[in-house]
């Protein structure tokens, strides 16, 4: 498999490497301020999650409103393996990715075979996440609505627990680098071109010989895999998961927003989007302290303005985002 580096793509690679390098170097400086590193780690986590979502929904154009299903399932998989069977969360993380990928393939099979697209597909994914939530809330073995607590064992790197905050930051950064690398690779591989064709005009793509179903399934599987791993990180970061949080619609929205704001279908978009959203969230919450609801009002307005005037996100403004045509209903 020969991977050619299209000269037009070089800026993206360079841009990504620069960003990653800056983030890596910033680590020790951020670490001296426990609040700053907490915010930075969240930015990295959501950049990672948005990038994972991006594979299916940004590049592939199959807008998912229910990625919390993969996130939550991943979080529960690794946590159950650890809490009930003593399996190290590192192994559990891999298992989480695989289990989520399986769920993704199942959902993909059901939806893509029926030709679900657009809003229908989005709502279907939402429904799946809700189904999982209801199931887990009523399931004794996983703690029902009380969820699962991870025992604090202090500093145990092999068990994915650290007393310092910096290791979490670097793990999140590594994950982000991984998924961004995959996205970069995707842009060059045949699969990437197929997805772009499907996103722009599915019927035409099929006519041109693209195996639409196969391409979508690959995108779904990869996207779900990475999202599931993100769930494990979240569980190991908070040491506590419960169904309303990890399977909730809010989580699905939090996962997709950075990609939309930053620019869906780009490598760097999710990273920019995550930074903007997390910082904006923290900023408005601090600024509007005492005025209940004001920060979310501002958020809503910004969301509207961004979509109206910058529909391809920040990357769109910079001219680097692939433009998508409206899919005729």
């Amino acid at each position: 498999m020969k991977v050619e580096v299209d000269p037009r793509r070089r800026p993206t690679i360079i841009g990504l490497l620069v960003i990653l390098a800056i983030l890596a170097a910033a680590g020790p400086f951020l670490a001296s301020n426990r609040y700053a590193i907490q915010v930075a780690t969240l930015i990295l986590l959501f950049a990672y999650l948005a990038s994972g979502w991006n594979i299916l929904s940004g590049y592939g154009g199959q807008f998912s409103f229910g990625h919390a299903a993969f996130f939550g399932l991943g979080a529960y998989t690794s946590t159950i393996l650890f809490v009930k069977f003593g399996v190290s969360p590192w192994v559990g993380m891999l298992a989480a990715g695989l289990v989520s990928a399986l769920l993704g393939l199942f959902i993909g099979l059901a939806c893509f075979r029926s030709g679900l697209r657009g809003a229908y597909f989005a709502l279907a994914t939402l429904a799946f996440a809700e189904i999982l939530r209801v199931i887990f809330v009523n399931w004794d073995w996983v703690g029902r609505s009380q969820g699962l607590l991870i025992q604090l064992v202090g500093d145990e790197p092999l068990l994915f627990q650290f007393t310092a905050r910096l290791p979490y930051y670097y793990i999140a950064l590594a994950l982000l680098a991984l998924v961004s690398g995959v996205a970069l690779l995707l842009e060059r591989l045949k699969l990437g071109y197929e997805l772009r064709a499907i996103k722009s005009n599915e019927v035409a793509a099929a006519v041109l010989g693209v195996d639409v179903f196969r391409a979508k399934m690959w995108a779904m599987g990869l996207s779900a895999f990475f999202t599931g791993i993100g769930g494990t990180f979240y569980a190991q970061y908070l040491y506590y998961i419960e169904p309303f949080q990890v399977f909730g619609v809010g989580m699905s929205v939090d996962i997709l927003l950075p990609a939309i704001i930053g620019g869906a279908g780009t490598v760097i978009g999710p990273i920019i989007g995550a930074a903007i959203l997390v910082l904006l969230g923290e900023g408005t919450r601090t600024f509007f302290r005492g005025f209940a609801g004001a920060d979310l009002m501002v958020f809503g307005v910004i969301l509207v303005l961004v979509i109206l005037f910058m529909p391809y996100g920040v990357m769109g403004l910079l001219g680097s985002a692939p433009k998508a045509k409206k899919e005729s209903a």
Partner: protein
């Protein structure tokens, strides 16, 4: 304990509420049918409609039902305003962008309500709050029965509008074939604004008729919104009879779902939803698009 009376009561209760779901879905359907826009802020308008009725009752003693004469025009205007300012700009945008813009509007309005009215749950006690009718062992409470009947009446009014008035015909034309409608001289922009306005008015009125037996707080719209989406998809996006039947069906399934153990009550609705998407994505009465 599940005996026939419980089942009958569940069916009745489910159908009564289903009428309300249908009304909410009708508004959503109108907006989608005519403009092809997925309106995530629909539930928020219902919440605002409930608050409007609440204040009319609490401050001026106006019962929600006569209050409809005030609420409907108010929200018609509000809907038109939102359409002109925000929605008209995303008519041609990808569907997910529409979802996100309307989500943004929803966030803004919901938190505006939170800032203005606080999070306190509020309810009213109209004259007929305690009345109920017993039909063959099944108890129907007046507020719920009233809501059901009002929903049906409004749906009927709406169908008449669609079928027999020029406006209705123009809306159907614009829904089916936009270019053609423009060619024939229909002011499509006006139609869209009115469609959004009427859809919003419908859901705000749904809020009014629900207030007598329901508690309002800024987050109350979300529940109905989810049900409305499911109803619309189940009944067929773009089909109005579909929305009506879909609403009743969803209400019924939800009611019967309550007979399940635990809080699995919501599960049958979601499963039905997913199944319908897979087996018949165009919905019960929708046409394949």
């Amino acid at each position: 304990m599940v005996d026939w009376q419980t089942v009958a009561q569940s069916v009745a209760g489910g159908l009564l509420l289903g009428g309300v779901y249908a009304l909410v879905a009708l508004g959503l359907n109108l907006i989608f049918g005519v403009m092809k826009v997925i309106n995530f802020a629909h539930g928020t308008f219902m919440m605002l409609g409930m608050y409007a009725s609440y204040w009319l009752f609490t401050l001026y003693g106006i019962d929600p039902y006569p209050g409809i004469l005030l609420v409907a025009p108010l929200f018609l205007l509000l809907g038109v305003l939102v359409e002109r300012v925000v929605v008209s700009r995303i008519l041609d945008a990808p569907e997910h962008d529409q979802l996100l813009v309307t989500l943004g509007v929803s966030l803004f309005l919901q938190n505006l309500a939170l800032a203005l009215f606080k999070a306190d749950p509020r309810s009213i006690r109209p004259l007929y709050a305690d009345w109920s009718f017993s039909v063959g062992g099944v108890v129907l409470s007046a507020p719920r029965l009233g809501a059901f009947l009002a929903a049906l009446a409004l749906a009927g009014l709406f169908f008449w509008l669609l079928r027999s008035t020029d406006l209705g015909k123009a809306m159907r034309a614009a829904a089916e074939e936009r270019e053609g409608a423009i060619l024939v001289g229909i002011d499509v922009r006006l139609i869209y604004a009115l469609a959004f306005g009427i859809g919003t008015a419908l859901v705000a009125v749904a809020g009014s008729i629900v207030l007598p037996f329901f508690t309002v707080s800024p987050s109350v719209g979300e529940t109905f919104l989810l049900m409305a989406f499911i109803t619309v998809v189940l009944g067929g996006l773009g089909s109005f009879p579909g929305a009506l039947i879909g609403g009743l069906l969803i209400g019924l399934v939800e009611g019967l779902g309550a007979l399940l153990p635990g809080s699995l009550r919501q599960l049958p609705v979601f499963i039905l939803f997913v199944l319908s998407l897979l087996v018949r994505p165009q919905g019960l009465l929708g046409s394949r698009q």
